[in-house]
Symmetry: C2
Subunit: 306 residues, 2 copies
């Protein structure tokens, strides 16, 4: 359960993100572009618009707000992270990857279009994520824009999200038998989902000009939150229905993927989720009551039902 | 034919690029990364190392040199463009795209590994391209780094390279019958290959701090060069052997893709290549003898045999 003001705040940011994505993915040709091919644009819109809690931009916006910065800059930075997240969903759903037909209750991009179009749509959504980070509208300071692009790249690439997806595919046994111990599962999860979620918080800290102490605390918050998010996801995969999730339930377990529910048991996983939530909240102690929305976001992340 | 000093200079920059890529794609975990999964790293190395003329970094390095800037900065900026190019080759070769088994005389990444790994390797090479652009080692000025990332994104995304690949797939008729007139073929080519080639020159202009006049001239040079490069490619696809190309010859023609050889005939295409070369060279007039290496690069681009 989340209280009404938090839910309203989350919905308001999601609406802002949706409006911004609608603008970025309009059919108007922008500076430096030659044309916007209709089919690719439509597939990108399918992959990015109309869904999701927009938790990553929410974290960026609320972190920046905690540091006294609001307006379009933090929203753009958070939306850059969201675009990166959307690209990863489009590619993860592909037949050669997780082979999913359903996402947010709708056909996945390769189902609605075709595989080639889905690959290109994911590619171009990743490109757009970096375009948004580097755009002067996101921050007047070039060093800040470069830092946003650099941090996003480090969280998204070989040593982060893409590497985590590679480990996840290998965990299915498709490249030879494998069993992951608890440490290996934690590493996989920190890469596959944790790095981008943590960077969403960091993006807010970057545009918010956090000093070293605040930045370190926010980094710790983001990392713990990423881990808490993923264990909540593992628990949901076992306990929620396909209807609740808007995607196939029980799929990770069926694929033999290592999750912390396997490593710790369901009760152990729930205890660990609670422990991670405590650590997440503790990282915010120095900010006092001002960080209440981020605390709510952490509680929401662990107790969400979809 | 290219004269010996130019060929030696091209080879020297290619060797520098190779060494830099070797360093970027080593197994050492770098700042901000969690781990470098071996299989993904190996596939990225397969897609990026050991091949190619490295024409794009050469253009960036020589353009910066014309403006009085040398060293690792321009090499890094050019290598960022090359990484973006390498990602596009890995994805274009995929079974659902152009379905190629051979690239630079070796198995394509999905043949050497598998489709999922090739998609991820392309994804992570794109990410690395932006990481390199945004890295402080590439330029001490954050505004320059952000401009590099922004320009690369605009050249690579929906309104550039990815959009061009979408138009190219549609030109095969897979989404319904289609015939492209000469203008449509030029737009497709300007997006699919021209935008990134032109941006390689622009990246050199950005790190070289070109003034407005020099920048406009270099931009025109890059755009004409991109068009000349593509028409040379269309001619090669008809006239060269698979052995010369290191990839399947005659494939674009067989796929029914619109090329300027179709639109203009072989003789007309050769006349157009000569006209584009003249325009490319004319754009460099203001730089006098200092631009001789860029002129050689343009002549090489049009007369190359692979």
């Amino acid at each position: 359960m989340t209280d009404a003001p938090f839910a309203a705040r989350l919905a308001a940011v999601a609406a802002d993100v949706e409006a911004l994505l609608e603008r970025l993915l309009s059919d108007e040709v922008r500076t430096g572009e030659i044309a916007r091919p209709r089919r690719l644009l439509a597939a990108m819109r399918h992959g990015a618009l109309g869904g999701g809690k927009r938790l990553r931009p929410f974290l960026a916006v609320e972190t920046a707000l905690l540091l006294g910065r609001s307006g379009e800059g933090p929203l753009l930075a958070g939306t850059g992270v969201e675009l990166l997240h959307c690209y990863s969903l489009v590619h993860d759903d592909l037949p050669s990857m997780d082979d999913d037909d359903l996402r947010r209750g709708r056909p996945t991009v390769h189902k609605a279009y075709d595989e080639a179009t889905a690959i290109l749509a994911g590619d171009a959504l990743q490109t757009l994520a970096f375009e948004v980070m580097a755009d002067p509208a996101t921050d007047p300071d070039g060093a800040v824009r470069a830092e946003l692009a650099l941090g996003l790249a480090r969280a998204a690439g070989l040593g982060g999200m893409a590497g985590g997806q590679m480990l996840d595919l290998a965990a299915e046994g498709r490249y030879g038998a494998t069993t992951l111990d608890e440490d290996a599962i934690r590493t996989l999860q920190a890469m596959k989902t944790g790095a981008i979620l943590a960077f969403a918080v960091e993006a807010g800290a970057i545009v918010g000009r956090a000093d070293a102490g605040a930045r370190a605390a926010l980094l710790a918050f983001g990392r713990h939150l990423g881990a808490a998010f993923q264990i909540a996801d593992d628990i949901l995969d076992r306990e929620a229905t396909t209807e609740q999730l808007g995607k196939a339930a029980g799929k990770d377990a069926a694929a033999g993927k290592g999750t912390l529910v396997d490593a710790l048991g369901m009760e152990g996983a729930k205890r660990e989720a609670a422990r991670l939530l405590d650590a997440t909240l503790a990282a915010l102690d120095r900010f006092g009551p001002a960080a209440e929305t981020l605390r709510e976001a952490a509680r929401f992340t662990v107790s969400r039902s979809s």
